[in-house]
């Protein structure tokens, strides 16, 4: 009995150890999110879901895939070290809500684009990987998309940054946060003014 238990424990531990270095495991959460997104969009087209319900569902599906805290710290950049813990929490919340707005706007502009994912990602080092995908649109050149992922012990692989056609989204948002700090005069002011509209307007 003891041997059986020890064997099971060793197997579980080995799964956790190898999960952060398995190139196939990196792509899995992206595939699940993509396929669920397509299913929900078809339900919406069939009239089984309203637009609000669709946005809520997409936000719920994408939430466990995106490392909000890490993304928020990256976007705040050098100002994250000056900010208080409460300010960092507040910005994480604001970033989450601006992402929901972005999903809603993205859905409005969605024209049947297909995200083509590879079978495997590239493990850059233990706990850090990238996935080279492409977004195929009817009648347009495919857009290369690069996902940067980090491995969280309890949550698995999570997206930390996206590079679309060579444009580093995280870096662009970091510059926009710095601009907001400059225009509002403080980190707190920048957090208060952060919204999908303020970011896309810049």
């Amino acid at each position: 009995m003891k041997t059986w238990f020890a064997g099971c424990l060793a197997l579980l531990l080995s799964i956790n150890v190898f999960a952060d270095s398995d190139p196939k495991a990196v792509v899995e959460p992206l595939k699940i999110a993509r396929d669920t997104f397509y299913q929900d969009v078809s339900k919406f087209k069939e009239g089984k879901l309203t637009e609000e319900e669709l946005v809520v569902r997409i936000s719920e599906q994408f939430a466990p895939l995106i490392n909000d805290r890490t993304v928020a710290l990256r976007v705040m950049g050098r100002f994250a070290r000056q900010a208080t813990e409460a300010e960092r929490d507040r910005f994480t919340d604001r970033l989450e809500s601006s992402l929901v707005d972005a999903y809603a706007r993205g859905l409005a502009a969605y024209g049947g684009e297909q995200l083509v994912l590879p079978e495997e990602g590239v493990i850059l080092k233990p706990g850090r990987a990238m996935v080279e995908a492409r977004l195929e649109s009817p009648g347009r050149e495919a857009l290369p998309i690069q996902f940067a992922l980090g491995f969280e012990k309890d949550k698995g692989w999570m997206v930390e940054n996206v590079v679309i056609a060579g444009i580093n989204l995280g870096l662009t948002l970091r510059n926009q946060f710095a601009d907001l700090v400059q225009s509002t005069g403080s980190v707190s002011g920048a957090i208060d003014s952060w919204s999908f509209e303020s970011v896309s307007a810049n």
């Binding site: 890490t70 928020a72 710290l73 990256r74 705040m76 950049g77 050098r78 100002f79 994250a80 070290r81 960092r88 590239v122 850059l124 080092k125 850090r128 990238m130 009648g139 347009r140 050149e141 690069q146 940067a148 940054n161 590079v163 056609a165 060579g166 444009i167 580093n168 995280g170 870096l171 970091r174």
Partner: protein, 153 residues
Amino acid sequence: MYSRRLELSVGAFVLLGALCLAFLALEVSGLTQTGDAGSYRLSARFDNVAGLTTRAKVSAAGVTVGRVVGIRYDETTAGAIVDMEISQDFAQFSEDTSASILTAGLLGEKYIGLMTGGDPSNLKDGDVIYDTQSAIVLEELIGKFLLNMSSDK
């Protein structure tokens, strides 16, 4: 006597001019040594380093913090790895620091711009920066623009 002194003055002036030109050339090409006591090595992975050369400047907030010491092809990611020597005086770059290939001046020389992030831990000797913005290739941009224009029609 007067003629000899004049000749010497002209010679000295020409020599000074040549030295100034040599100094200017070294400064522009980034061949001068930083002269700091110690340095540590960081690398950055880019999709494209078009135009970047070894000994190019590495700067943060416009301040030169180091030099590019090597550029090599990375077969695993099919990208380029840029090795940089960073002065020990600038050891406060967070682990989520990003690196971008930027263009300076009218001559269009490329350099690397580092932008520190919010992670509480700092990069150490031998670490690799994966959060990067590659060089923009003009031909690719024009190609994309033309394709998008034709598909919009």
